[in-house]
């Protein structure tokens, strides 16, 4: 199985794991943290800036509210983390918010959560990539000068990688995430040391700028509204927290406990980084404006539309390490990389959620099957297309995109926590053990507080952001909800239509005899094989059928048929207009008309070829005919394949495909508790090929 050409690929992305080895890839905490937390951790790259940006509307004096907003975000983060620690204990199956809402609040709530999450995945890609491009741009100006192009190129790259099935590898996530976290912590520590111990004044690149407030001296309700809006923007730091609750099955045992610990770790890291960056921004005098071209003044003059407003994290890094220094570049690169990984998270989460929804028949059934490449591809292309559209419309501006972002997250937070309250209520009704009851009551209190708090935040977010773009996210949710409901309805309708009648003997029109027809155009090996197989089937009547499109060929066929004394009668249908499909269909129908209780078995010899262009050259009329026959009642259509030599090429390709790794495989964990046990039909004694060698081998 090992080929020389595979070596570079293996070095780059690790050895391709066969899916039956998936059981070995359970994640330890130190790997699970970067895999699941790159999304929430990376959001400290944009969330602090968004807070300052909104506050700047009331002028730079409003910046002194930022620590209070940071405190509010920290409290919220702790609330959400505490709530989700209850979730992972109660629902370790990986269904996440969708499962919790469906189980406790009913399918409509579940579908709402699912719609919200799907929208959120799209926005995770759009926001993370845009922010990543902005961060990379602080080190490489070219990138930010061609922002939309760069963002779309990165999305394109991630899409191709995921379509080709690059396996999520723990290491791939771990290195940039830990470099990023370490970098931010070093920056905070070094900054604190410089200003508190050495007493140096750090100066951000924008320290000497002034802000022209849009609304001078904002007070009362207007100020409160502005503070709430700044808080809403800060809540972007919470996106992705729920990812761990979807990934419990991927953890090593004890799964729930490890997941809960990882969740707490992630929360702790995120809030420290968030607060540290806000603190450094205040200390170094970072100035951010909502519309920098007009409102940011350098020496009293607006900076103009050429000015590129770098992210807070990069301005702070410039203040602490110095613009363009090694550490500055390293942190910018790590930040961008973590943001791209956060986007990649959505590429994995989208099909994962899709497969759960497919199980409940809200999405096409084939999404349910792990490793169905085609199905995953459709999902990935949909995700990438929607994200590219948003990036194009909003010009890859992370500030604009964040307006859309947080609604979905808080819809699912609120519904999930509400569901958890119901969950505990239900269990408390039956639970007798006082110790367990005490734990449940405490959990319920945490979840109730979480539901209330996140519900309030949701209202705040809707109120402050609806006109700024949140309506787009809501519209997206409505569309997903509508499509998924329609699919479910369709499946239900079909299920009703095909459900077996209750009395086993009810089928009155069951056919009594089989009339078999082998379609023949020439006497060659595929035909002889088809005739041979047809004879084996011992149907009540067997005949060979040919359509006369060319009298000379037909005569040759008839002669050859005689000469070989093939003891199956050959019937010739005339077709003055060289059609094949129509005469055959008419003939089949005439059989059914004459003997309504006969089933007609149409046997078609088929060449199997290995290349798509060969496909164009063969079997086209057979395919067309098969398609039409399927619409004819009382017919079964049998293909007798004849494998041409070139079909080996297709076999090799199929084998390669079977080694493809579906996105989301790592974070999904193995499906079945009985993993490792081989199916009974494989690996039996005397089975020379051995098990798990792939379908393309024997």
């Amino acid at each position: 199985m090992s080929k020389l050409t595979d070596v570079p690929k293996r070095i780059l992305i690790g050895r391709a794991l066969r899916s039956d080895r998936l059981g070995e890839t359970l994640l330890p905490k130190r790997i699970a943290l970067p895999v699941f937390a790159s999304d929430p951790l990376s959001s400290v790259a944009y969330a602090p800036g968004e807070v300052l940006l909104v506050l700047s509307i009331a002028g730079v004096s409003a910046y002194h509210f930022s620590p209070w907003i940071a405190v509010a975000v920290v409290v919220l983060m702790f609330t959400v983390v505490a709530s989700y620690r209850q979730n992972v204990h109660a629902y370790p199956s990986g269904g996440g918010d969708y499962e919790v809402a469906t189980t406790n609040l009913g399918p409509r709530a579940g579908l709402t959560v699912a719609s919200a999450l799907l929208v959120d995945y799209v926005l995770t890609v759009a926001v993370s990539i845009s922010s990543g491009v902005e961060n990379l741009g602080s080190a490489i100006p070219f990138v930010v000068e061609h922002k939309v192009f760069s963002a779309i190129a990165v999305i394109g790259l991630l899409t191709v990688m995921n379509l080709r099935g690059v396996r999520e590898s723990g290491k791939l996530f771990a290195i940039p995430t830990y470099v990023f976290v370490a970098g931010v912590f070093i920056m905070i520590a070094w900054g604190a040391y410089q200003s508190l111990v050495l007493g140096d004044t750090m100066k951000a690149p924008t320290a000497d700028f002034e802000i022209k407030p849009e609304h001078q001296g904002l007070a009362g309700f207007a100020l409160v509204f502005l503070l709430l809006r700044a808080f809403s923007s800060g809540c972007a730091a919470l996106t992705g927290v729920e990812a761990i609750s979807n990934g419990v099955p991927a953890f090593r045992k004890p799964k729930s406990k490890n997941a809960a610990t990882t969740l707490a770790l992630m929360g702790g890291l995120a809030v420290t980084m968030f607060c540290g960056i806000i603190g450094l921004a205040m200390a170094s005098g970072v100035k951010m404006a909502e519309t920098p071209a007009h409102d940011l003044l350098r020496d009293g003059v607006p900076v103009g539309s050429d000015y590129v407003q770098n992210p807070v994290i990069s301005q702070v890094a410039a203040a602490v390490f110095g613009q363009g220094t090694f550490f500055f570049i390293l942190l910018a690169a790590a930040t961008a990389l973590v943001l791209f990984l956060a986007a990649n998270t959505a590429y994995n989460g989208f099909p994962l959620l899709g497969s759960i929804l497919a199980q409940d028949r809200y999405l096409p059934r084939q999404l349910h099957t792990r490793g169905d490449r085609l199905a995953f591809s459709n999902g990935i292309v949909l995700l990438a297309g929607a994200a590219m559209l948003l990036v194009g419309i909003y010009e890859a501006d992370s500030t604009k995109l964040i307006q859309l972002y947080i609604v979905g997250v808080f819809v699912s937070f609120t519904l999930s926590q509400t569901g958890m309250v119901r969950h505990w209520n239900r269990h408390l009704r039956t639970e007798k053990d006082p110790a367990v009851r005490r734990r449940m009551v405490r959990s319920r209190a945490i979840n109730a507080f979480g539901a209330t708090f996140t519900g309030l935040v949701l209202i705040v977010v809707l109120a402050t952001k609806f006109t700024h773009g949140a309506w787009v996210a809501l519209l997206g949710m409505v569309i997903f909800y509508g499509v998924m409901s329609a699919i479910r309805k369709h499946y239900d309708r079909v299920a009703a239509e095909i459900s077996a009648p209750d009395e086993p003997g009810d089928e009155t029109a069951r056919p009594s005899r089989v009339h078999s027809i082998v379609l023949v155009s020439k006497v060659h090996r595929p035909t002889l094989r088809a005739v041979g197989y047809a004879k084996l089937m011992r149907s009540d009547k067997l005949e060979a059928l040919s359509v006369n499109v060319d009298p000379a060929e037909t005569k040759a066929l008839r002669d050859e048929w005689e000469r070989r004394s093939i003891n199956v009668p050959l019937k010739i249908l005339d077709s003055p207009y060289r059609e094949i499909t129509r005469p055959v269909i008419e003939y089949v129908k005439s059989i059914r008309r004459e003997n309504p209780r006969d089933a007609v078995s149409v046997i078609i010899p088929e060449y199997v070829v290995g290349h798509w262009y060969e496909h164009l050259l063969h079997n086209q009329s057979a395919l067309r005919l098969k398609g039409r026959l399927l619409f004819t009642p009382g017919v079964m259509v049998t293909s007798v394949p004849y494998q041409l030599q070139s079909s080996e090429a297709a076999k090799r390709r199929a084998k390669k495909r079977s080694e493809w790794n579906a996105p989301g495989a790592v974070r999904r964990g193995p499906v079945d508790p009985r993993h490792g046990k081989e199916p009974a039909q494989q690996g039996g004694p005397g089975n020379g090929t051995g098990t798990g060698t792939g379908t393309g081998k024997a």
Copy 2:
């Protein structure tokens, strides 16, 4: 069959003819002339201008050579028409130049002719549309100001019309063609009357312009070369002459005689119009320059790049009728329309030639079947794409495109006439009757002269136009030749691989028993039907097979199977990773390993649905599995369809499709001498549905 909504369509494009009524549509001469001759007749719209344009290189004084060039073109036209009159008598089957060359000069010559004709069809579209846009632009300036856009839009329109299967109707061709011919003749007569009888001086819009010669005082070899180049351009008038020889079967009887008469008529009309327009152009002082922006002077100053050089025919019409008069507009419109019809000719000829090539296995077999919509569609899209590409590259400039045009035509003329000489030689060897021999000798003389003359013209065209663009056409021919040879080679290789062994009893590995497997996921009607059919087939062993992707569902299936006491054993395959394909394939292989002489029959229940989006929701795993099973030796795959209610929609669509008319149907004529005879299986007594009602009805 008649629906209210069809009425407007019927008024517009005539009643859709079912293909079994095709026999009734044989063409009388008065209709055949416009159908087949719109291409050569329309070329008088651009050929005269091309002659003047080339001559202008030596200055306006060289214009006095134009009558001599016209004479040369007339002689050539008579030669070619006389030659092809021999062709239609000798080869009335409609194979045209391809058949003549293949039969008499061998398959390579035939394939060369075919490649040349295919390239020519592409160029017919590109040149005719570009010239049509230029002519229309003389009346509607907007069109010529957006020339490339207009040309591509017209190609797009023709493509859509032909993809949708608008039937070539004789009337559609007749009216504009006769209006055009009549218009040109009236113009010539009226112009001659004005200048010869009334003695008026007609003045073309460019009569007062001067031409700055690129090469002053050209003489000797250079002048001869220029005259030859002008003659080559004039030869554009001969394109499309061979169309009639491809269309003999579409004529009323006596086919060959009628075709020959039509050919003579067409030649007479074409040369009269060609000479008349050249004469009027000389009389009215038309000035054409190769690069008008620099070389055309108004009051001694170059006209500049804004100047639009109108076609000769429109300048002459302006001189005779007056710019913007009713007749002027009418002629411009008729000219444009005839040119568009000439382009449409290629849409019909391309698939027609394709079907003949497919019969000889140079193109995919399915092209051979009349009315195979998919195959025709591919051909039409290929034709339109190539023409659009050329129009785009050459900016819809008919003068530039004509440089590519004439090579292919003269390749096929020369080879065809050479082939005819061989044809007569062969017949003369056996023919005894002196009267017949005399006719044959005369025909041979005509064809020999034709072959020599057209061969010389081919050399002239190649010599004078190679660097101007003829190399592109040659490259196109080489590509077509290469692809078609490769296809033929592939078919030959496959035919050798599958050819039946000579001894009838040679097949050693013929299977002796059948092991049938019904794939089952749930107990519903499709499953029960499949099991019922499978039982009818009385195979040696029958079992139902299910893959356990969800233990709960599997248990439900097992219970239901027991409860209904379906007396077929149910086997469950484990699949810890929720795969379906792999376990089934492995199981089938294991059966074959244990009993190599067993054939395995896999029976798959399938839903048949009516809409593409329903397809996405059903059968995907079954389809994937079928695809993989076909690569497994010793397997036959049976689909047992279950028609859902929605499948009725697909049936209706299929019926509509079956009424589609393939492009080229009218000019191809009926296939079979026995047309009109119904196939034996249709229309028998007691057949309530009646014949020819389409497959989607009963």
